[in-house]
Amino acid sequence: MAINGNYVLRETTANLTRNITLTVASVLTVFVSLAILGSTVLVRQGAQNATRQFEGGVEFIVYVDADITPSELAAVKASLEDNPGVLRAPYVDAEATYKEFRRLFKGQETMLENVRKGDLPTSFRVEPKDKSVESVQELVAYYQKRPNVYYVSAATEVIREMKAITTFFNNGLSVFAVFLLVASALLILNTIRTAMFARRREIEVMKLVGATNWFIRIPFMLEGLIQGLIGGVLAVGFVFLAKGWLDDLLNRSKGLNLLQNFSIESSDVTLACLVVVGVAITLSVVSSALATRRFLDV
């Protein structure tokens, strides 16, 4: 099917400008919903970075001395594995420890320069069977006194709270975002229906002279896609702004325990932007397809 690019361009811009109020409404709703969605992704990733060590039920970490011998290490390992209160206790070797260290102290060059791989204590990530505060404390106290144990770090109340708060915050925002996404899909749908209704005489003529359904649809679907994309691009801009604000906030609150490990990396920003653009495209294509489908029969 030969499609005249000129024609598509002319019709699409005409649709977008003729319906300017509805177009602006759709674009803004798409923008707001995707901005919220993008922010939840950022916060979720940040919280995940902060609590990553304590993921998957890990309640405390047993660091062993840096100069531990293989047989001493085996003894610590055995004491964990034989302990009926311990469900799992995977070992994090020097390599993985150093990688994690580099991630946590990214941007802090003096730190990175002065610490070498062998300097860091390796550890066991312990997931106890019973995760109540008392029994975890008991286990922590026990391993604190074991030979060759350098330090035991427990998932503090702070981390528990941080997990709870971000989950709550994100679930709330996600529900909100979903409602707004539905609203923006309906607005795009309505904008396109209005555009098609305004041009029903043209569409009638097009059908009578033998224009294909796709030829009739494409300018309208592009109209929807452009609305979605403009909203999406604005939301991507907002994600970058939000990243800036969060960084600011984190810098100012250094020392505030809650946010100590909270960090947003560029890969998280990329993820948020991909989610935003992906949702923008899916949303607008689906609603445009639905809006134009009705006009396909005769």
């Binding site: 099917m1 030969a2 009638e204 003529v205 002279v209 033998g210 224009a211 294909t212 030829f215 009739i216």
Partner: protein, 225 residues
């Protein structure tokens, strides 16, 4: 070129618009569909370019059983069938030239074809001088010429006209009939629904008469009645 085999069309509420219609129209023929209002003329026209589906029976256009046509092929069928209506169906926000060019653009004809075909067809219908005018700046007869130009610009095999002179005075109607006659003489099959007695009687072409959905007469070189 066009063949109806036992075609019936029943609308909801048991309204029989067409009853067991049979006819065979050859290439290059000029056929009048006559009959009182509500006798099924428009329905028959709308069945031919698949604006409506028959309830029973088979319709062949250019050798194809159009009831068995894939829905994506319908646009290509319609490119071979020009359509003219009583109310012209011109787009009021487009000039005469743009209205005619639109019919070529939307079926993907390249620009150089549009640029040569549109002036040629406007010359044929006698509207070259008014190509920049908008429809509401034209008389009824001129508007109908534009609509005929749009229907014919792609050189279809068949031209369907549903009461094309229904809104025009007799003198203007004669001009429109001359134009349709000229188009017919290029080899285009013309099917025209009308209840204009004087036109049918002066043209003396094949007449198919409908009454309450049934074909009651099919006469070569006929008169209105």
């Amino acid at each position: 070129m066009i063949k109806l085999e036992n075609v019936s069309k029943v609308f909801k509420g048991d309204v029989v618009a067409l009853r067991e219609a049979n006819c065979d129209i050859n290439k290059g023929e000029f056929v009048f569909l006559v009959g009182p209002s509500g006798s099924g003329k428009s329905t028959m026209i709308r069945l031919l370019n698949k604006q409506e589906e028959p309830s029973t029976g088979a319709i062949y256009v250019a050798g194809k059983h159009i009831g068995q046509l894939n829905s994506w092929k319908v646009p290509y069928l319609r490119r071979n069938i020009g359509c003219v209506f009583q109310d012209y169906k011109l787009l009021s926000n487009k000039t005469v030239y743009e209205n005619v060019a639109f019919a070529l653009e939307v079926i993907g004809r390249p620009r150089h074809v549009v640029k040569t075909q549109v002036p040629a067809i406007l010359e044929l219908v006698g509207l070259s001088k008014k190509h920049k005018n908008y429809p509401d700046e034209l008389s009824g007869g001129e508007q109908q010429r534009v609509s005929i130009a749009r229907a014919f610009v792609n050189r279809p095999l068949i031209l369907l006209a549903d009461e094309p002179t229904g809104n025009l005075d007799p003198a203007t109607s004669v001009g429109i009939m001359r134009l349709l006659d000229r188009i017919n003489r290029t080899g285009t099959t013309v099917v025209m629904a009308t209840h204009d007695r004087s036109i049918v009687d002066t043209m003396r072409r094949r007449v198919i008469e409908l009454d309450r959905g049934s074909i009651i007469r099919d006469q070569a070189r006929g008169v209105y009645e």
